[in-house]
């Protein structure tokens, strides 16, 4: 059942790569897992749809590797590559907003899927916060692409993030409130997204039914 979604994600690669990834999922010991991790990161940085679900593939490979030989070659390479990209993130953002947004989506997705003893990976907490804080800066709030990404990530992992570090979540929400209330030039769409996420957290990481109706009833049109 899980495999079917993974397979559909894998469709976006060329045939050789598809085969490599499928082997990595079944028999990780027989492939070069550094190559595999690089392929997944590269694709995530290019493909926004892929970056939203790539964490699941990573999770499956990590599990398979642990089961097969108690190894963590894939995870180590994946995380270190993510760290490499993290260092260059300002450069990436300048070069391509889309790649930057893909990066944030991907690292958040990895944070969401990969756990250590069922707990979030501590090493990623601050980097993820750093990315989200960056998206909450005034210049980033001017880009709906970035606001959209920020809000989506908070919907997905906001609650977990807050549990591991409330202080930084508070900091982040100071920025979001400031942005919503004071920043000139925000599009109404960006304001709407910000307002919704403010309500979302205020409601204990969920929307009340009336709030939900307010924000989402227009889908019917």
């Amino acid at each position: 059942m899980e495999n079917s979604t993974e397979d559909s994600r894998i469709q976006s690669f060329d045939l050789g790569t598809q085969l490599l990834l499928k082997t990595a999922l079944k028999d990780p010991g027989s492939v070069n897992l550094e190559t595999v991790s690089n392929i997944i990161v590269d694709q995530s940085l290019k493909d926004q749809v892929f970056s939203k679900e790539a964490g699941r593939i990573c999770y499956t490979i990590v599990q398979a590797e642990v089961k097969q030989n108690n190894g963590n070659v894939f995870r180590r390479n994946l995380l270190n590559r993510l760290q490499q990209e993290f260092k260059d993130r300002e450069e990436t953002r300048r070069r391509s907003l889309q790649e930057w947004v893909c990066y944030v989506t991907f690292i958040c997705n990895v944070f969401d899927y990969l756990k250590v003893n069922n707990m979030p990976m501590v090493a990623l907490v601050h980097p993820v916060y750093d990315c989200l804080m960056r998206l909450a800066q005034p210049d980033a709030l001017m880009n709906e692409e970035e606001v959209d990404c920020l809000v989506l990530q908070l919907h997905r992992i906001g609650e977990q993030l807050e549990k591991v570090n409330v202080q930084r979540m508070d900091e982040l929400f100071f920025l979001l409130r400031d942005g919503f209330l004071l920043q000139e030039g925000l599009t109404s769409m960006a304001r709407l997204l910000l307002l919704e996420i403010l309500e979302f957290r205020a409601g204990g990481w969920m929307l009340s039914s009336t709030a939900h109706k307010y924000y989402y009833s227009e889908i019917a049109d």
Binding site: L79, Q83, M119, M133, E171, G185, S188, M189
Partner: protein, 283 residues
């Protein structure tokens, strides 16, 4: 949600301003300092110390604009240790091991408690029994640094083909004390020297299950007898079977390769060097 977002966005785009407004950010600065002086002033999300460490030496020193608070509080371990720990992969591995050790510690405590209870019962009925176990709770090793170092050593031993073969060939209930290798108990208080010796002997015994390399296992076992008599402490810790290499070339090569590989990601030897000063067993 994104579909809805998109349609909405098109309307919103028409009213888009150019991005010159910097006013609001100044507000937020003032406010944040009021709440907590240690907060980051500008959200200028530049890397933190551990992250810079991976960089060249120059860029690490050059972190002047950064508020001093901008280090990672949770990861006190990696930051205070050597630079090798700075990459995320290693951090997560350390984290994993630390949590594993703490989980083991809870289990071990429970087991001791259980043992104590049965012991008490036995005492009331028979009146006497060997009771060295009952004091184990007090003599338990709880120093995290020691436990982590020991766990690392154990992991290296377990991360071998020989160990896999051993646990497959000899099921737990068949193992006899003194005959089969038994993983040293990391929760017992031992001197550093004693512990290292136990690890060494354990690894040597495990070598009996190295994958067959032409010569068969008898040779290896012979060597173990010899090694047992030698003062093994004089041999470098991670190459306890160095003297075997002449007799069992094939299996030895794979083994030392494994070890070399581990050297890159952090050897027990290196860790020991950084921690010798704090090791209580040495005093």
């Amino acid at each position: 949600m994104s579909d809805w977002t998109r349609s909405k966005r098109r309307d919103a785009h028409s009213s888009e301003y150019d991005r010159r407004s910097t006013g609001p950010s100044r507000w937020s600065h003032c406010r944040k300092r009021g709440i907590d002086g240690s907060l980051r002033a500008n959200g200028e999300s530049d890397g933190s110390d551990w992250e810079k460490r991976g960089h060249t030496d120059g860029s690490y020193r050059h972190s002047d604009n950064r508020p001093s608070s901008f280090t990672t509080p949770e990861s006190a371990g990696p930051v205070s240790r050597c630079s090798r720990q700075a990459d995320w992969g290693s951090q997560v591995e350390d984290d994993e091991m630390r949590r594993g050790v703490h989980r083991d510690m809870q289990r071990y405590r429970r087991r001791i408690l259980g043992a104590e209870v049965t012991q008490r019962e036995r005492k009331t009925s028979s009146g006497s029994s060997g009771s060295c176990d009952s004091r184990e709770g007090e003599n338990m090793e709880t120093d995290e640094a020691v436990l982590l170092r020991r766990q690392k050593q154990i992991n290296y031993g377990k991360n071998t083909l020989a160990y896999d073969r051993y646990i497959k060939e000899v099921p737990k209930h068949m193992r006899q004390p003194g005959v089969h290798p038994k993983t040293p108990n990391k929760f017992r208080k031992y001197s550093r020297r004693s512990w290292d010796q136990q690890i060494k002997l354990w690894k040597v015994k495990l070598h009996a299950w190295d994958p067959p390399a032409e010569e068969g296992q008898d040779k290896v076992l012979d060597n173990i007898e010899e090694l047992d008599l030698d003062d093994v402490m004089d041999i470098e810790l991670d190459f306890p079977t160095l003297s075997e290499s002449q007799n069992v070339p094939a299996s030895q090569t794979t083994h030392s390769l494994l070890l070399e590989d581990e050297d890159c990601s952090g050897t027990p030897v290196k860790i020991q060097k950084t921690e010798t000063t704090t090791e209580p067993g040495m005093v």
